[in-house]
Symmetry: C2
Subunit: 131 residues, 2 copies
Amino acid sequence: MAQSDKKTGSVPRQRRSACGVACSLDLLGDKWTLLVVRDLLMGKQTYSELQASEEGIPTNILADRLQRLHREGVVYKKLYQEKPKRYSYHLSEKGTDLGPVLLSMLRWANKYVPGTMSVAEVKALMKKNRR
Amino acid sequence: MAQSDKKTGSVPRQRRSACGVACSLDLLGDKWTLLVVRDLLMGKQTYSELQASEEGIPTNILADRLQRLHREGVVYKKLYQEKPKRYSYHLSEKGTDLGPVLLSMLRWANKYVPGTMSVAEVKALMKKNRR
């Protein structure tokens, strides 16, 4: 059953109820998954770029979250180097459709957590980073 | 520093970055916190009502999340019984302002997770439960 992985805190996908919030949290409910989605939405593509984010995601957590997001069709991979094999990571439509979840968190934090960036500032940063 | 509580997985509030998503996840980033907010938004008020939700929240997790949400001003308590002391739980404005976060998750799940309730169905249920 849903035994948690001791190293990463990852729990195999298992639906707790038919509630959309619960189902979303089954995949997204941790401190890191939505930060990986945020980074991909902001234009990051490679493992090392994702790892360089200022929150300092541990490498085992990053590897686990990318694998789960890939398994769930939120992220797809592209081989960009043959030897050694290296992949870049990209959001599918299912992934970019998480934009409104991130946006609603940004708005909430901007209202209640002093010193967080405004939505306008984040959008300007996204535009700058876009490849 | 941010030593996690072995029993509840709770981590003391510590900001990882100035990103609003990261700051939101510092408080909300787990499998349960937003379900408690959902239940309060849906009209539940007492500890036993919150505990009865179909996802089966463990009682130590529920107590911890209510305490954190109260500490962060998302939830306020009202004494409704003197002997023994019993409190009901309610969302502050900071709490009801999490509505759009829940709504965006609902919409995403309704598009991508088969069998989850539509926003219209959830709103009808909220209306029915309102006291």
